[in-house]
Symmetry: C2
């Protein structure tokens, strides 16, 4: 079956060794295909990244796993990598309207009317999201109208209390690393739909922040790379160009001889697609989509203290602030550590304000927020680590690609559409858990299935 | 002064031979600097492009010149290229709410209340735009709030009649090739501010569509290239990478030996910036801005008839439609031609619907619109020419880069900020006439002045 394409070096070349690319490669290798994975960075794992703070391994990128993230949990199980629950014993803090309050459970200490309205709006959003098709949100009745609104505009029309609006804005920033004015209401709902609801997205217990991995999430990308086979990986090799013809794809770049394959899978975020010179050019709607899928703006920071002093005061370490710039915050202390770690984020507008400043200025602003929330003990950390994802060359932002109004309806339908022999994966293209590592894994599996079918069809076409 | 940088091949390398790049190069050459202009396409002129229909030269891209476009008019004057007024004698047509009506002058035939409100809203927008600083619209009081709204959301809140909303949407599509939901209100106002008002942008007489050039606007880019000196141009050479160090910039790509320069000027649209591999990477806010400046969506079409039959019926050829997909339309007949040409656009959502369809399907839809508007005579053209700018590899859309909410305030302040030794021009970076050829010329001059100052400073630094 394969003798007819004599110049094919491998069946499939996968661009990108994040979870999407590795997931696709694993499935293709399992199906007996010859695969090469080419990665620009000198490491695997994409938007996960290992770091150290106070002698403990921490995740500078993706970190948590939710109960429904079955592919990621299965990967961990295969390698005996244990999870530990995100610590959440004790009271939470909320800084809101100039004062810091503590509260227990799910109900923040804000005015009752705002709470009631938040609950009502959340339920309405859940219903609207549930009504969408996960695979074709643009086809829903009313999709065009929803895609004309930003989340901000929708909230402004449908939410009356300033408190509920502020809470919703905090939720949007936490999930998207973007301001509510940056994203389309339809995109927001489709993203929620892909994870089965808004509450799972913003929750710890039962939600996307439920568990962490011992030794960090990034270690799972290494485990997945082992499954693919290290001999199939080429790290530190930015692909410069992809040339298609009737029989295959030639992959240029990375200081190696051009690699020939029958099909390629591109897993880079949409916003980075223009970095690949392609011949023929991308189809026009894909080019337009790539221009309209900016990455979220986030800087992740870990602040280490001699002890988790907040726990002794009955605090869980979880905190949000409407003033910022450092919000939300979680207890990031690894189980069994003597030191305490607070882990949190500069998101959206706060990232734009701080990305061009010095690390010292960022550190000072982060500690100032922590001190307002957790008191004077927070002013004296023993260590600090951060990662500015907006400045990360091969990501261009995190957590994921975002869409402003008129993008999902106008350009979205091509998101998983192959461009000739080039197929697409990456968490942005996921139908389940879009934007999460779980989505990346799902997208890789879907692309692999797509490519296997195409390879079979190619072979039939050649025979006939 | 120049002997100290021994490995510099030229003083300045300009990436892109559109009007911005040629304008910068001309100024630098005039100042005695050694310049090289490198262009990916095999022609100069960027978003202007020559075409033929029924034996007449037409513009497939930029076409018109307004009374305030002094740089463009001066260029034409230097080369003895004459303008001719855009034909507008006779009645205009408007298809609105299912019927086609004709009207004279500026007042379309729509319900009186809608007209009164349109007038009121236009005046309000003019006042809001006039209050902005052309060079720093993000610094205005209230800028953050204006940058949270899309134009659509703002119109929905401030315009009551469906008629006024529809007219405003027609105006937005005509100016931006985008839907009102795609662009931020602050961006909209800043763009208007840069051209001295909304009415000039949408008008023929006294506005940006007042005159055309005999032989087409594209010919002026050729004239400007002659002024720069053809020996300084390299066409058909896509730049792949720019490497910066303390002394200069090395330009790679285009199948030539790397070119060394002291400073570079990049003139490509922001959306295409990621196509240049740069070392060090772009500053994070510039990378974020490039991800958030999608190009407008437009397909330009010329339809030729045996005669300009509409003129005999007292029609100017000017028409708009709220149904589309072909709107707006102008008389594109060159002076002295026997044939008649109607020139118009598929814009925004209409472009997205038609870009992936066949040229025949587009032609049929264009002629169907013309037949509804101009009657059965429009059903039988003798020639047709079109250009899908969304599919144009080295533009990625037209007329210009657009910004959704939260972009101009969050990322806009870096738009003209050099990245080390790399400076920026292009109509998106213009302070005057942003989005127009005039803006491209202005941006090139501004970048040239900036680079000349930097080169002088470099020389002083080396001496001291």
């Amino acid at each position: 079956m394969q003798h007819d394409i004599s110049d094919a070096t491998v069946d499939v070349c996968v661009i990108g060794a994040g979870f999407a690319g590795l997931s696709a490669a694993r499935a293709l290798v399992a199906a007996g295909r010859a695969v090469r994975v080419i990665e620009a960075r000198d490491r695997v794992g994409g938007r996960t990244k290992p770091g150290m703070v106070a002698g403990h391994r921490v995740d500078l990128g993706g970190q948590w796993v939710g109960p429904d993230h079955r592919r990621l949990r299965a990967l961990a199980a295969r390698h005996g990598i244990a999870t530990e629950p995100q610590f959440e014993t004790g009271a939470k803090l909320i800084e809101f309207g100039g004062t810091v309050k503590r509260y227990e459970g799910l109900i923040p200490a804000i005015p009752l009317l705002a709470l009631i309205e938040t609950d009502r709006v959340m339920k309405r959003i859940e219903r609207m999201a549930a009504a969408l098709s996960a695979s074709a949100p643009w086809a829903a009745a009313g999709a065009a109208d929803l895609d004309r609104d930003t989340v901000d505009a929708w909230l402004a029309r449908h939410v009356r209390t300033a408190g509920a609006r502020a809470l919703m804005a905090i939720a949007v920033r936490a999930v998207f690393s973007a301001e509510p004015a940056e994203i389309s209401m339809l995109f927001f709902l489709a993203y929620i739909r892909a994870s089965g609801g808004l509450e799972p997205l913003i929750s710890v217990r039962g939600g996307a922040q439920q568990d962490r991995f011992r030794g960090g999430l990034h270690a799972l990308s290494e485990a997945l790379a082992d499954e693919v086979g290290r001999e199939r990986l080429r790290l530190g090799r930015p692909v410069a160009a992809l040339e298609q013809d009737a029989a295959g794809v030639t992959v240029h770049g990375g200081g190696e001889a051009p690699l020939r394959c029958r099909r390629a899978i591109v897993t880079v975020p949409l916003a980075l697609l223009p970095r690949l010179q392609v011949s023929p050019p991308w189809p026009s709607l894909r080019q337009g989509l790539a221009q309209r899928s900016p990455m979220g703006s986030v800087i992740k920071c870990h602040v280490a203290y001699r002890t988790p002093f907040w726990r002794a005061r009955g605090l869980s370490g979880e905190a949000v602030s409407d003033r910022g710039p450092f919000s939300p915050i979680f207890d990031g202390t690894p189980e069994g550590a003597g030191e305490g770690i607070l882990t949190g984020f500069l998101e959206g507008e706060a990232t734009r304000r701080f990305t061009a400043r010095t690390p010292e200025a960022r550190r000072a602003a982060v500690i100032a927020t922590l001190t307002r929330l957790f008191g004077p003990e927070a002013a004296h950390p023993i260590d600090y680590a951060e990662n500015d994802w907006l400045a990360e060359d091969w990501s261009g932002g995190c957590y994921a690609g975002l869409m402003a109004p008129a993008t999902l309806t106008g350009f979205g339908p091509v998101i998983r559409e192959a461009a000739g022999r080039i197929h697409f994966a990456g968490t942005e293209t996921a139908i389940e858990a879009t934007g999460y590592v779980e989505g990346a894994l799902e997208s890789g599996e879907r692309a692999a299935i797509e490519v296997l079918a195409a390879l079979n069809q190619d072979a039939l076409n050649t025979v006939s």
